[in-house]
């Protein structure tokens, strides 16, 4: 073992005493350190309490090891006894012990901290702060969206400025790497919808509508929204963490001083990659959702594969597929945009990176739902 346990440490010291008239001499022998600090201070205090002396001499001559914490504890005992009107002296200190005491500064022990710990604000102040924070956040997001739209427009007008390599890299990260989880979740969702609707529809003998329900729900709503939420969790958070860490490491400042538009350089490839890849992922999710329903349809409803697929295809219109793709592209833009924006908001430290990464995911999901609501109303009237 490299170190003695607390039990071992308690055996490493010995405290003895003798009372000469009204003077109590306490002899310290052995090792005194952090590990036995509590034990030996208690013992000395008990001794003083029992003997009730008028004067105490703590004799250091037998000490073989003393660390700074133990030295401090002995000063504290000395102070406490002096407060109790008992004169206490530390005697027979060797050079080593004197050395330790030379770096324990009395004024440091009593110094009031320069800064008080922050107290909890009143509820009203907290509420006001939160509202102001929301307003400021909204202004930040709007400014960022403006900047982003300008950069997107600029990139479309100057396609040579787009870093294709980066776009491909993020397409792989957000798209290809996300295929397994998107596929799995979609199959399960398809299974669940089919199973739940089958339980209800079988009561009225309308099992044949299960494929329609699954494909309708997947293509129109669940495909785009579930894919977007998964991508927000996977890639939105990754973008925020990546850019946030770059801010902390002053990499973003370095880009700016090199004359690069950091937003354009870091955000645009991610946004373009996401706008390309998320609609593809959505179509993929739709297929897997229908496949999930098919499993229930074929195994539980006695439908043939052919009937199930024909019924599904009949339900889905080209308009639905196109709007689903448009939705997916908009969601993609929102996820990438907010992910990057939150990353740029990081100022310092690991905690900030965590805070804004969480915020990126929460904000992205919120924006996805808001955008989806707008789509729902708008598409109703377009139709």
């Amino acid at each position: 073992m490299f170190m003695q346990s607390e039990q071992d440490w308690s055996k490493l010291y010995k405290i003895s005493s003798e009372k000469r008239n009204s003077i109590l001499v306490i002899y310290l022998t052995g090792d005194f350190g952090l590990k036995n600090l509590k034990a030996f201070t208690e013992e000395i205090k008990q001794l003083i309490y029992k003997q009730k002396p008028q004067e105490i001499n703590i004799d250091f001559s037998g000490i073989s090891y003393l660390d700074s914490a133990a030295a401090l504890a002995l000063i504290q005992i000395q102070k406490d006894t002096i407060v109790a009107s008992i004169n206490c002296s530390l005697v027979n200190l060797n050079e080593e012990t004197k050395g330790i005491y030379s770096v324990i500064h009395e004024q440091a022990l009593t110094k009031t901290p320069f800064k008080a710990k922050m107290r909890q604000d009143l509820f009203l102040i907290q509420l006001g702060d939160s509202v102001l924070h929301l307003v400021r956040d909204f202004a930040n997001v709007v400014t960022f969206v403006g900047e982003l739209l300008y950069d997107i427009f600029y990139t479309i007008m100057h396609p040579q400025s787009l870093r294709i390599k980066d776009v491909l890299f993020y397409m792989k990260r957000a798209g290809v790497d996300g295929l397994p989880i998107v596929g799995l979740i979609s199959v399960l969702i398809g299974l669940i919808i089919a199973f739940m609707s089958f339980l209800q529809l079988k009561q009225v003998g309308a099992n044949i509508y299960v494929p329609s329900l699954v494909s309708f729900a997947m293509v129109k709503e669940l495909g785009p929204i579930m894919t977007a939420i998964l991508v927000a969790g996977r890639s939105g958070s990754a973008f925020a963490a990546e850019i946030g860490t770059m801010v902390v490491n002053e990499e973003v400042d370095a880009l700016s001083t090199m004359g690069f538009d950091a937003v354009r350089l870091l955000t645009i490839p991610k946004v373009f990659a996401m706008i390309i890849v998320v609609p593809v992922l959505t179509v993929y999710a739709d297929f897997f959702g229908v496949f999930g329903g098919l499993i229930v349809g074929v195994t539980g409803l006695d439908l043939t594969v052919n009937t199930y697929l024909t019924q599904s295809i009949k339900t889905i219109k080209v308009f639905d597929v196109v709007t689903s793709l448009v939705k997916a592209a908009v969601f993609a833009g929102l996820i990438a945009g907010i992910g990057c924006q939150r990353g740029f908001q990081v100022r310092a430290g690991a905690q900030d990176v965590g805070k804004f990464t969480t915020s990126a995911v929460v904000s992205a999901i919120f924006l996805i739902v808001v955008a989806d609501s707008i789509f729902a109303v708008t598409l109703y009237y377009i139709k």
Binding site: F2, M3, L37, G349
Partner: protein, 264 residues
Amino acid sequence: MQSPDNKPILVVENLAARFGSNIVFEGVNFQVNKGEILVVVGESGCGKSTLLKIMIGLQKPSSGRVMFRGRDIISASEEELNEYRQNIGVLFQSSALFSSMRLSDNIALPLQEYTNLDSATINMIIKMKLGMVNLAGYENHFPSELSGGMKKRAGIARAMALDPIVLFFDELSAGLDPVTAVELDDLIIKTNEALRTTMVIVTHELESICKIAHRVVMLDKTAKGIIAEGKPLDLKEKATDPRVRSFFLRQLPEVDSRSTSYGK
């Protein structure tokens, strides 16, 4: 400066570090004596940081042993290694203070984890440690509110929280202005003299080396091991190896620096 005892506290035996076919160093042998300030020097890429990481138990060597109080830390179990780590303190190059915690919480963390002390005693120890590094009164500050030199000192206070037997420093004064670097050197000397803490410092700041080191171990990239060991002044004045001489005289070996400059 007080001279240390000649009792070895840490012994490095036949240490080698290899990454694939790349040999960082081989056959490294030296010892760190009790109360000594040992400085490990060498050019960038010679394996100073790898050596430090091995000595603090963060990395396993390819072969060799590091003996602490007669026990090998390389073959030690994770539990034993954690015990070893309670006996050492490390100051990282970036100070590595926890940014989400106040200085007091940074220092309190090991005390709360490894001792049974009550919060009042821990607070007194925090105040004492901050006083030792001239940061009295800064307990409620966050690391982001401190300058580079103050962060280093706070890092030293945290490293000393458990009164370690050995303190390790990675690039002690890297990135600091000369005045702050000198202050830090003085703090190291004062701490070593007062507490007799053994110190292992990895650096290439020549002024620091000459001022604070009791002994120097010099690693070399091409030799893949130690090329010199001794007192800094002896190495500076008596070394015959051109690599050692060039390091201490701040010259490129066998090259007149002026002849290669543009301003000749």
